[in-house]
Amino acid sequence: MRIIFKTDYMQDIRPWKDGYQLSLYLILLAVMIAAPWWLDMFYLGELTNVLVWAIAGLGLMILTGHTGQASLGHAAFLAIGCYANVILLEAGVPFLLAFPLAGILTGVIGATIAIPALRLHGIYLAIFTLALSILMDDIIVLAEPITGGVAGKFISGVDIFGLTIDRWGTPTYFYWLVLVVTVLVTLGYINLLRAPLGRSFIAVRDSEVSAQAMGVDIARTKTISFGISCAVTGWAGALMGLYAGAFNNETFSVVISIQLLMMIVIGGLGSIHGAFFGAIVIGFLPQFLSISKEYVGALFGGDTVAIPGLEFGVFGMILIAFILFEPMGIYGRWLKIRTFFELFPFYRKDMFKRQKSYLKTERLR
């Protein structure tokens, strides 16, 4: 059991607890940087995919996990980021400029959309964003001169200082590009959470009324949260576009939005780790299912069994199991296991028990 001995006020807001924790994360980073040497090309591609999903998850986590505003429409912002990036690139803007701009543009659009959405709570916000996501599909088709409509757009590779980064041609470079973005976004996120802005996000999530009483400007906080969340999601969308190479109006459908929300719930709402755990589940579930289908097929001496829609069915069941038995997600489970070993033998079952709140309506008629 580690005991952190605090000798300095700065220790409370330092991003890491102690040198041990810091060194663990540095080792993880080194292992990730070295991934091209210990992974074959197929799994490197999958890992890249997981990281891209993790960035998108981080984007949504800011809004849903830390500000408490459930959004079922983040695929729309993935789409905006993706298209903005590609359109800027086609206009001859260098990638190092186009990529940040795409995210910022998405963020500005997101913050603008947030203004009418400020009055909405809970399910009303969820359905508002869901409608946005559905509309985005049609908007992309209608804006054909810019977006290419149903035919979609293509992108092969990008250049950074003469270095060609291509998903298929140079997957290693592409992986490192995604890794750099992931690390930057994660560091930004950690810093956000220890700044007054991030704390006010959490205050708004926990109770709007008391946040207001503490002097937090709710409308401003929510708008900024939307903006940051959408900007990060926009970057993820831009990377997704580069990863896929070709995309059209159906690439970023409502299903992606729902998947994104479910991903962070499985990972663990309200934690940075959760976005990564969720992305791992989302990224490797299809592979895992296809491998296990082959295995089951071989076991019964037949061909691989083809079950349409299996992926979503299994996904739904995993999610139901998580919500029922581990509402804190994979990260919550990990925390419990870790605490068990750290406090052994003093761990008690109810240590993570939360206060139940009984329902009161907002309807008065």
Partner: protein
């Protein structure tokens, strides 16, 4: 005359949306939870009835299959509440929303496994019959849909505002703890409302399958019904029907008078407009939240 024809078919479609929306509102009214799987319930109700009546499956007579499938769906609704939803007591609204979305995925998967992914139609005694009314030609199914929906909405409305059980349900949603102190069996009430929502979904499914064809992805239509419920204002039964009718009527008119591509946007654009200007729907029941 064309416009009236459009209006009637729009109304019939709108009634199906309204029926699904009724299911949303029932559950919302009594438990303050939102069942995103209601559209998939409807799809399942349709498939259960198809499985019972269609000649390639069990081939029971329609009027016998009708109560059986209603009962089955009500039982399923009750079981879902008993086994899954009841454990969510005291959790946040958002996690219930996510749970029901996941349930929808599972239901779609199971329905696809059992009945396949081909669109199917319900063989029913009303199929192909017409009603001539002045110069209008109406499908018998359309008339049935409209009549059944109106009756059901009226019955549910009376149930909620007049009967003891209905009032108990409203009480249970307004303040669970206080309702429990008043001697309302909150959990049993919740189970009953899920059963009722299952039966309403079965009615919607049967009417929908009689009018057109269903496949496992039909449940996604629930999103449109959800829009209807929000437009009407969650928590209001007549509002749900009105919202459904508005969405249903807008669709055919939009596709006739607005350029293609823009027309399917219409219901969602309306939804966004309603949410922006009247955040709690046209028949709003929410005032400013007090501490």
């Amino acid at each position: 005359m064309d416009n009236i024809q459009l209006l009637i078919s729009g109304l019939a479609n709108g009634c199906v949306y309204g029926l699904i929306a009724l299911g949303f509102v029932l559950i919302y009214k009594a438990t303050e939870a939102v069942n995103f799987a209601q559209g998939d319930f409807m799809m399942l109700g349709a498939f259960v009835t198809i499985g019972l009546t269609n000649t390639e499956y069990m081939g029971l007579p329609f009027w016998l299959a009708l109560p059986i499938s209603l009962g089955l769906m009500a039982g399923l609704g009750y079981l879902l509440d008993r086994l899954i939803i009841r454990r969510m007591f005291g959790e946040s609204q958002t996690s219930v929303v996510i749970l029901t979305i996941a349930l929808g995925f599972v239901i779609r998967f199971v329905a696809g496994l059992i009945w396949g992914h081909e669109p199917q139609t319900l063989q029913n005694p009303l199929a192909g019959k017409e009603v001539r009314f002045g110069g209008l030609v109406l499908g018998m199914e359309d008339v049935a849909v409209i009549v059944v929906t109106l009756l059901l909405t009226w019955a549910l409305y009376v149930f909620f505002s007049k009967t003891k059980l209905g009032l108990a349900m409203q009480g249970a949603s307004q303040n669970q703890l206080a309702a429990y102190y008043m001697g309302i069996p909150v959990k049993r009430v919740q189970g009953f409302i899920w059963a009722l929502a299952g039966a309403v979904a079965a009615v919607a499914g049967i009417l929908f399958a009689a009018k057109g064809s269903v496949d496992p992805n039909t449940g996604l239509m629930g999103i449109k019904a959800f829009a209807a419920a929000v437009i009407g204002g969650f928590g209001s039964l007549p509002g749900a029907l009105a919202g459904g009718l508005i969405v249903g009527v807008i669709e055919p008119f939009a596709s006739r008078y607005i350029a293609a591509g823009y027309s399917q946007v219409a219901p969602y654009a309306l939804l966004l407009a309603v949410l922006i200007f009247r955040p709690h729907g046209l028949f709003s029941q929410v005032r400013v939240k007090k501490v």
